[in-house]
Symmetry: C3
Subunit: 267 residues, 3 copies
């Protein structure tokens, strides 16, 4: 029988996997803290001389191009090749894809030169990575016409990867199945880094479950159940964020089982 | 009739302008979050290959030299030239000016090589940028003798810019008028980044109002009214900071109209 | 008579020493904020062109290799040589030592090429710096066999430095004496950056007290008394962290005198 969202959270808490990040300078603390909060062990290391070696002691690798530079992406490739060789999952947050030519080019380089196992972004970012001519507005999501589920499925097939589109309803697609996660809260869009943290939580869950589509859906469900609980106690974005960490830390089986809203459809 | 502080905040919330930053690594998260909290859309991008392009999708550009390097300042110049060309306001936070020769030199380069529309700092930083022989003590304000209003007015004329000196009373001067903002709370000096965040809020307001002196005064008034509200509920610097974001997010017209203390004098 | 932990905290609050950091990008904000919270003045500056000059206006220098690069360590050496020349204490947090060859090599370079006055890390990191063949797991502590007190004492003699091993019981050793600090709370291990912040607080105390062993023990006692107070009010890692800053800011003599648990033994 398939593990539940809480089963995987429990596995993270027990195994405490190391999750290596090469991420942006804006939300790097929150990415580390969210990984620690779900019970895993974050490590952030981007020097070219150690990125590959650090990946060897990790159980998952999270890349995020939010404040990319050319050199930084080269270090990402070294870390990703090392991760590929070790067989640990690589998650790419295509943060800000579509905002500039550099971001588009570097996304394609990463997707073409190393194996990315989970491609994660908001609707406009993932559309852009799929080759749609969407113009994004910095790093916040813009509206994308058309069928997002189909978009995710096509990119998943094209890239042989799990594709995660976050939004009011999250879409997780691989070649076999599509899952929707209907948890979350609008206050998340008022806090910088909730998207980046989602990728880090996916990294922690992917470190303990080889079905990356299942891992991604369960990660988002747990994270967003915590967000729903947090919103009940929040008076604004900062108290919401504090509550998000506290609630995520305190999640128990009964709450997650009752509140998680993952829907799966076979293709 | 001139818009009020709340009018401009409402405009930011409605237009959600993109505010591009090249800022320091210490407070980069808070700068992004404060921009989001007033309703605008922050983007942080410093790669030389994309800084200019990102400025083209923004409505304001905020530069902060807090953790400058030579390369980083070159990227700032690329972004600023692009902003100048597009005609969007460029705000420079002269963070730590006077602490080292590098900071002094790079401030002058920025002021001479690109058009800076708003020069912002504390008393000792702005005095230093004006050519006074003030020695600062790292990034915290030191006392400056003499007339700060006159100092601001002279620099404003010399640089054809709006000059903002933050402190217990904030001074905003351009060639036409001088404004004083008498809001704020001493707890702000116990939180790292309140100065950097002030520049970011000015960026958001400057993105929606072409009178940059008015935009700066209104931005500071809203931000510091929130600080006063936050201080009432705070037990120390960390709860104060959380409340600052929550209060800023929840500001309403009645509160801002009642509490804002902007004084204007024509020259 | 030897000053107490609170005596030194009071001295920090009165003298407001500048504490210069070259630290990691993950916890840089928290390092600055904790220094400010104890009453000192943080400055973060890593450009090669100014690192040495900034050290000249500081009263202590804190180095942390958490997100090191080769260039960054070169800037650390420039700052440290300047600090050595001025005679201010240099604290090195050997964050992540043992995780990669680069970290091991750069730790040794720093220890060999400049004078480090306080070497600080968790058990596995300090063991590794001592030449033990411990394999660490990223940046979180792993168990180390053997006598940690002896380990600290030997490294202290070998390097003519104060050695600080943080853990459930903190060990502070120099050539003359060994101190144990038995304050703290398990929630500290659930918050990213509590170790980095400990080094920064040590920096602030070392800036006002030339007995660096005493300064380190008093710094940890104050910081960890605040953690104990914070834990009483916390519902999870994020509220704990907020309370940690607030409690540290509000520490008074009576509380510190009553709760501090420093034990000293002459060798």
């Amino acid at each position: 029988m398939k593990p539940t969202a809480y089963d995987l959270l429990e596995r993270v808490r027990q195994q405490k996997p190391v999750v290596h990040h090469l991420t942006n300078w804006v939300t790097i603390y929150d990415c580390a803290q969210v990984v620690k909060t779900v019970g895993a062990s974050p490590v952030m290391a981007h020097a070219r001389e150690e990125a590959a070696e650090m990946a060897q002691i990790a159980s998952a690798l999270v890349l995020n191009i939010g404040t990319l530079t050319v050199d930084f992406v080269e270090a990402m490739k070294l870390a990703a090749r090392s991760a590929n060789q070790k067989g640990i999952p690589v998650i790419l947050d295509v943060c800000g894809a579509g905002a500039t030519a550099l971001r588009d080019r570097k996304c394609q380089e990463l997707l073409n030169e190393v194996k990315i196992n989970v491609i994660k972004g908001n609707a406009s970012e993932v559309a852009r990575v799929s080759g749609e001519s969407v113009k994004t507005r910095g790093v916040d999501a813009t509206e994308v016409g058309g069928d997002l589920v189909l978009l995710a499925q096509k990119l998943a097939e094209q890239r042989q990867a799990t594709v995660v589109i976050t939004g009011q309803v999250d879409i997780i697609a691989d070649g076999r199945q599509t899952q929707l996660v209907k948890n979350g809260h609008p206050l998340m869009t008022h806090v910088v880094g909730t998207g980046c943290m989602a990728a880090s939580v996916i990294g922690a869950f992917a470190a303990v479950e080889s079905d990356l589509s299942l891992a991604s859906a369960c990660a988002l469900a747990c994270y967003e159940v915590a967000a729903e609980l947090a919103a009940e106690k929040a008076a604004g974005p900062a108290s919401f964020k504090e509550q998000l960490f506290d609630c995520l830390y305190n999640l128990d089986r009964k709450t997650v089982d009752r509140m998680q809203r993952i829907e799966t459809s076979q293709r």
